[in-house]
């Protein structure tokens, strides 16, 4: 093995680095362009030849977008909606996952589990219209609940939690907890949750990415400017009389930054969230 590794290293290492560096540059470039455009004025965004280094830095876009839109509120809305959706999904999925993992001989177990698996196949495109109609009948249009609830029944999350709990929580642990006199909820909260923390983090990240960036559902449900999330605010900034690109870029940077920072800090959970998606394949 050691020999193999050394050979590989001698083999094509500078070529690999060149390929990777080139790819990294290409893939990071739109991010750079976003950042640099955010600190250019409108005419400099459309400068000819294009201005690659945004110097001198102009902060006016941030001031403008703060003055002309409710961006602080939009940011708060996005955080609240994404946060609640993550929390609710994790709670609901881990509870259901535990149920399927622990109570194997409960009547209806097999049938209910099959139903859960079946729902992973339901495309969102088919349920969007009925859910919209339902939400308008319940008066949940233009509310936080209208954004939080519909996505929270995540069948894939349940399946994943069940797998993870089955593999990582030995049955003996339940029995031990029971002998200690712990109730079922206590067992869930104090015994199971600590063990499945990595899976929760990964699922949470997956839900967070989708919820934070969701445009379509926000466009449908959120009807007034003070309820807008960041993606919707950015979309609506595009006007028929020409888009204030500087403001769009400034808002875009603010919308992208939290996830990118979180990703840099918690790479493992993000990667875990994505690869877990492949488990079912």
């Amino acid at each position: 093995m050691a020999a193999g590794v050394r050979k590989m290293k001698i083999g094509g290492s500078w070529k690999s680095y060149a390929v990777l560096a080139g790819a990294a540059l290409l893939f990071a470039f739109p991010g750079y362009w976003l950042t640099s455009s955010a600190v250019k004025t409108q005419d400099r965004i459309f400068a000819n030849p294009p201005e690659v280094l945004p110097w001198p830095v102009a902060w006016s876009n941030f001031a403008d977008v703060y003055a002309e839109t409710r961006i602080v509120r939009a940011f708060f809305n996005t955080v609240l909606i994404a946060g609640c959706q993550v929390a609710l999904t994790l709670l609901v999925c881990s509870m259901a996952g535990l149920a399927f993992a622990r109570y194997r001989d409960a009547p209806g177990h097999k049938w209910l589990f099959a139903l859960t698996l079946g729902t992973m196949m339901i495309p969102v495109a088919v349920t969007t219209i009925p859910v919209f109609i339902m939400l308008s009948q319940f008066g949940l249009i233009n509310t936080y609940w209208g954004m939080i609830l519909p996505g929270a029944a995540n069948a894939f999350g349940v399946f994943w939690m069940r797998q993870y709990i089955s593999q990582n929580v030995p049955r003996a642990l339940y029995d031990a907890a029971e002998i200690d006199g712990a109730g079922h909820l206590t067992t869930y909260w104090c015994v199971v949750l600590p063990v499945i923390r990595p899976a929760m983090a990964a699922l949470g990240v997956l839900v967070l990415i989708n919820s934070w960036n969701n445009l379509m559902w926000a466009f449908i449900v959120l009807r007034t400017p003070d309820m807008q999330t960041m993606p919707l605010l950015i979309y609506m900034l595009q006007g028929e009389q020409g888009t204030p690109y500087g403001q769009v870029m400034a808002a875009g940077l603010l919308a992208a930054a939290p996830l990118v920072c979180a990703f840099l800090l918690f790479q493992r959970a993000f990667i875990g969230g994505v690869t877990a998606g492949a488990v079912k394949g």
Partner: protein, 320 residues
């Protein structure tokens, strides 16, 4: 053990099987926490999953805009769909978008994954982060950035193209990335490659890491070159991962929305309208809820069959 049957017989005929029923009830009571723990999920699932699914099926037989009274039209939504030129254009566009972006994306993802899989590689986290980060940026933002980069007259990409052409000494015209019906799909595909390569690279990396290293050593002992190891050992073992990535990308292309909604609005004309945008336009653009539901169901059914077909073909190849 067959719980569903037990449940049915116990409720339908409790007198005859009293003992069975009592046992069942005891088991239910003993496992009551199963139901308590499941309740929140199934409550949400019934309201926002199962019921809408059935409601949507019912809708597909109606003409309804959720505002004025509904009309029952039987199967005519489906009949109209079969003659809707725009629907078939969107199917064709979806197919082309898939053809344009999935192969290069999978190739790139695989190459990067193989490179990153090398144990001696330095700065692994940096490379991975750089290629992966597009997957977490808000699509609406990046689609607008792309519309700037690919602008006809003042976009950076065309500027570089002109400079490159000038160096070679060729007169280069404007590349109509977003203005031409034949180019719009290419531009959307570039956005898709950019967006999803890192995501799929990570999945492939996980697949690669699942391969038993001793197989490589055995191949090396047999005198296989690096390329041979890649094609003879890695790629066959990666087949399930490839299949997964392909199927997910296929489904994603069909239902994709943000990318086209923001970057091209499905245009110019309808040249980049995929199925996802078609469904949105019919549903929320025109409020033809019945028709959109019929289209949604048809697409979902077709896609389901296509997925089964792809999976079956993938497996057959494997055994052959």
């Amino acid at each position: 053990m067959n719980p569903p049957d037990a449940a049915v017989s116990a409720t339908s005929n409790p007198a005859n099987k009293g003992q069975h029923g009592r046992r069942l009830r005891q088991r239910c009571v003993a496992n009551r926490w199963f139901y308590f723990l499941l309740a929140p999920f199934f409550l949400l699932f019934f309201i926002f999953g199962l019921y809408p699914l059935l409601f949507s099926l019912y809708l597909s037989f109606l003409r309804w805009d959720a505002l004025s009274p509904a009309t029952w039209v039987g199967l005519s939504n489906f009949a109209a769909l079969a003659q809707d030129e725009l629907f078939f254009v969107s199917l064709k566009n979806t197919l082309l978008l898939g053809l344009y972006h999935i192969p290069p994306m999978m190739l790139l993802a695989f190459v990067f994954a193989v490179l990153l899989d090398r144990q001696c590689l330095k700065l692994k986290g940096l490379w991975r982060a750089a290629v992966f980060f597009p997957a977490i940026t808000p699509m609406v933002v990046i689609a607008i950035v792309f519309s700037l980069l690919f602008g006809a007259e003042l976009g950076l990409v065309n500027y570089l193209w002109w400079r490159a052409a000038a160096v070679v000494g060729v007169e280069a015209g404007v590349l109509p990335w977003l203005q031409s019906e034949s180019w719009s799909k290419v531009t959307v595909s570039l956005l898709l490659v950019w967006r999803w390569t890192g995501y799929n690279m990570v999945i492939m990396l996980a697949g690669l890491q699942g391969i038993d290293r001793s197989l490589y050593e055995a191949a090396e002992v047999d005198g296989a070159t690096r390329l041979q190891r890649l094609t003879q050992v890695t790629m066959p073992l990666m087949r399930p991962t490839f299949l997964f990535v392909f199927v997910m990308s296929m489904i994603g292309t069909v239902y994709m929305f943000d990318e086209v909604f923001v970057l091209t609005k499905g245009g110019p004309g309808v040249s980049s309208t995929n199925v996802g945008l078609f469904l949105f336009d019919e549903g929320f653009g025109a409020f033809r809820f019945g028709y959109a539901s019929a289209a949604g169901y048809s697409v979902a059914a077709g896609l389901f069959l296509a997925t089964l077909l792809v999976l079956k073909m993938g497996r057959k190849d494997h055994t052959a």
